[in-house]
Symmetry: C2
Subunit: 246 residues, 2 copies
Amino acid sequence: MQDMHLVHHDCGECPIRHRAVCARCDAAELSRLEQIKYYRSYPAGQTVIWSGDRMDFVASVVSGIATLTQTMEDGRRQMVGLLLPSDFVGRPGRAMAAYDVTASTDLVMCCFRRKPFEELMVSTPHVAQRLLEMTLDELDAAREWMLLLGRKTAREKIASLLAIIARRDATLNLRAAKGGIDFNLPLTREEMADYLGLTLETVSRQISALKRDGTIMLDGKRHVTVPDFDRLLEEAGDDSDGGVLG
Amino acid sequence: MQDMHLVHHDCGECPIRHRAVCARCDAAELSRLEQIKYYRSYPAGQTVIWSGDRMDFVASVVSGIATLTQTMEDGRRQMVGLLLPSDFVGRPGRAMAAYDVTASTDLVMCCFRRKPFEELMVSTPHVAQRLLEMTLDELDAAREWMLLLGRKTAREKIASLLAIIARRDATLNLRAAKGGIDFNLPLTREEMADYLGLTLETVSRQISALKRDGTIMLDGKRHVTVPDFDRLLEEAGDDSDGGVLG
DNA sequence: CGACAGCCTTGACCCAGATCAATAGCCAGG
DNA sequence: CCTGGCTATTGATCTGGGTCAAGGCTGTCG
């Protein structure tokens, strides 16, 4: 957000260089990517693409947060993805957007026109390899989310979301994820509700409840402090470790 | 199921040759795969792998149906994947199973030891390409399921599941998906409940309700006839078309 | 400064689906 | 044939979270 203006003509200095779809590229591959890339910025709240629209680019989130949502005809909404810096948007080989993509905060994306990118995927295996790895990670995340949506209580859902945001925030900002943690919620109550399969009233009530019994502390509506992360994980109903799978 | 004994030493005659992870392979690549493949069979109900167990193979489902489920410590279960013939099991680059894999019917899998398969992925781009494509499809399916789990009513969930099974059954058996359709439910009421984030009682009640008002007909507990597929889709709350995205 | 617009919180009430419980069909085995 | 073990159905009741409604807080703009 503060670096919306930072447009890195040199990929070598890009903050997501080692996590994005280009992570595995060598210098030669990177320069090919550099030739077809361009940056786009969106202010918070703006829609990047509507589901069903033609989409002739793919992109990496450079800074800010984007969301993927599905909407039913009667207006029920479900967020199906939360895209943080380095996450990939779009699907090679598909011309139509399958989801609404929205900038949840101010957003900068590094875009590639779809056709050249697809050609590049065939010729530079490192891009395809990394994309496969990222897609498998997203599939795992989606499946974890399925457990949350199908089986967790409202309180567990909120605790899980806070834990995930805390963890992601910690990795992005290189702080330790143990002991007292604090972070800013990047989502409104309504966006949280859309992500968790709840109503915004229930989100609000459960956050109040977690505050009431000391699992979290709130400073304003957005700033959260977690005095005991393990306790939060317990509330989330996850296996205590949050273990990384080899 | 009926072809549990069919072990195809010649990939050319394999029923999933053109849909599985090997779909794009040329003759040379296929023969390399053929060298490292082996078949395994599991009777209905048997667990293929437990979540957290070491898993040193990956595989394609040849015939039958397998399920992926996640379980919480207190026993709540959520199915996160339904694997039909040609679907892929396991994750290259990961040694631990992330989910319980269970044979829901008698099951035959075409297995590859993980290490040789990983090496082969690097050297034969067609395998990696196809795997990426399949993973992207699964990610889309998982996200569609997130909408179902987060926002659909019990009745819509049942209708959606029936529609999906009907459609998959139709493509596998090359029957037309319009007009009166019939198929066998490959899942018990409890498995359906685990998939839909419901209890088995609710599943039973909603199936009875759909039968009562003529959306489906039941012959025994497993055989379903759908007189009007569009009506079923309406009950599922999906956009009428079920449109394929380019 | 006041007014309005967005967000958020809290309360009262309701209902879809969970839970608890009883029963029925359908084999396989003795 | 009866018995026991599944699987499924159906009823009665309970409850978590949805719905509806009324403010409260904060920041921005005139």
